[in-house]
């Protein structure tokens, strides 16, 4: 297992001067899992975007350290896998085309097609790999997102509402992925499902965090 640390330092985000959250700090090491809990609209997705480096915080910073080396903010994406409702596949391409495309844009060195097929098998969409994504059911799309997020074997896996749109069998696969990730690196889950809480080494509850007053 690689040595990975992920730390958020006093993160704050405002939209139109409304504070979404403030003073969020935590630090994670490899083998740990972290749950961000909160109702819809509590700023979970915004926090997830900031943690993945997709959105700049109003204040504070995200630092990632891999094997003792600080990762430059614009290279964060190389170490992160994200599963989120805000992250879609290219619907005019097939499942396997999407995955190989992602591998090529990332510039992966390994055998992309082999790895992609392996993942598609694991997530039980191998039979439909050559069909366009737009013909997939929402559950299948969700499983394809898992495959896409794991293709580059990320040190940090971030899941935003991972179990939505999935049936019993799909949820079992997600649990398996979670366990696997904890053996590979860091796992961050944003959720409002009580069930997910038991996979957490530590929990951040955004409902309690939310400041009542706005700052100016």
């Amino acid at each position: 297992m690689k040595h990975v640390t992920f730390s958020a330092e006093s993160l704050k985000k405002e939209f139109n001067r409304r504070v979404i959250f403030d003073a969020i700090s935590f630090s994670l090491h490899e083998g740990e899992s972290f749950v961000i809990a909160g109702r819809n609209g509590s700023g979970k997705s915004t926090l997830v975007k900031i943690l993945c480096g997709l959105l700049s915080p109003t204040r504070g910073s995200v630092r990632v350290n891999v094997e003792g080396k600080e990762v430059a903010p614009d290279l964060l994406f190389r170490y992160i896998g994200l599963i989120s409702p805000h992250f879609n596949m290219y619907e005019e391409f097939s499942g396997i085309e999407n995955l190989t495309l992602f591998g090529k844009i990332r510039g992966l060195e390994n055998n992309i097609v082999h790895d992609a097929e392996e993942l598609l098998r694991q997530f039980n969409i191998f039979e439909r790999r050559n069909d366009e994504v737009r013909t997939y059911s929402s559950g299948m799309k969700q499983r394809l997102k898992f495959a896409a997020a794991l293709l580059h074997r990320p040190e940090i896996l971030v899941m935003d509402e991972p179990t939505s749109n999935l049936d019993e069998e799909g949820i079992a696969t997600v649990r398996f992925v979670m366990e696997q990730q904890r053996q590979r690196g860091i796992l961050i889950i944003a959720t409002n499902e009580k069930d997910d809480l038991k996979y957490a080494d530590s929990i951040l509850n955004l409902d309690e965090q939310r400041p009542a007053k706005s700052s100016s």
Binding site: E14, F15, N16, R17, R18, S56, T58, S214, S216
Partner: protein
């Protein structure tokens, strides 16, 4: 511009400049220090230079100020710079309209029609379009931070493309503006002057006076906008 004396001084300065601009007589062979030379073909109309050119100049100052505040916003993400950028752009629009309208009226009597697509007319028209586009863009974005970022980026892009007119214009058309006549180098949007010294003095005093007036107006506008900004309730 904090102290009252500076403001009163500016008002007196501008009053003197405007009076001089209108009252100094124009004679064929100037003898006294206050006598301006007659420029053939322009006569009394030459006095426009004291009032119209400062408007155009201030427009450019406002445009540059707006772009610089845009850059500073992007560097600091401090919304106060955005507020200054908008204020500069708003004032720039006003000065731009004044320069366009006054120039157009003058053109009617000097060149026979209100609009001639002279290089400088075209350039000021483009500035007007940029200001229009800038405010159209701002009204189309509702998150403050995003609005500030996008409009700053747009003003920088506009800021780097506008100077190309200086190179483009002389290749396409000959200028009508005084200062560009018969002078192939002078057809761009930048004016080159050959003026009698006393006329030049009034002109430069006027430029200075109106520029300072612009900074005063800018200061007032920014202060009002800041108050507005902080008294507003954050939107849900």
């Amino acid at each position: 511009m904090k102290s009252a004396t500076a403001k009163i001084g500016l008002v007196v300065w501008l009053t003197l400049v405007i009076s001089a601009g209108i009252l100094f007589p124009m004679v064929a062979a100037p003898q006294k220090w206050y006598e301006l030379p007659i420029i053939p073909g322009l006569e009394e109309k030459a006095r426009i230079i004291f009032f119209h050119v400062p408007m155009a100049w201030t427009t450019v100052v406002a445009f540059i100020a707006s772009t610089i505040y845009g850059i500073r916003f992007l560097m600091t993400k401090n919304l106060d710079y955005d507020l200054r950028s908008v204020s500069a752009a708003g004032l720039g629009t006003m000065f731009c309209i004044l320069a366009t309208v006054t120039g157009s009226i003058w053109a009617k009597f000097n060149w026979g029609s209100f609009w001639n697509w002279d290089p400088r007319e075209t350039s000021i028209f483009v500035l007007l379009l940029i200001y229009g586009a800038y405010f159209a863009l701002r009204s189309a974005v509702d998150v403050e931070e995003k609005r500030a970022t996008l409009s700053a980026v747009y003003s920088i892009i506009a800021g780097v493309t506008v100077p190309f007119f200086i190179f483009v214009m002389p290749r396409i058309m000959t200028g009508l503006h005084p200062g560009s006549k018969g002078d192939p180098q002078g057809a761009g949007p930048v004016v080159q002057f050959k003026m009698a010294p006393n006329m030049l003095l009034v002109f430069l005093s006027s430029l200075l006076g109106f520029t300072l007036l612009y900074f005063w107006m800018f200061n007032l506008k920014v202060r009002a906008s800041r108050l507005e900004f902080h008294s507003q309730q954050p939107q849900e």
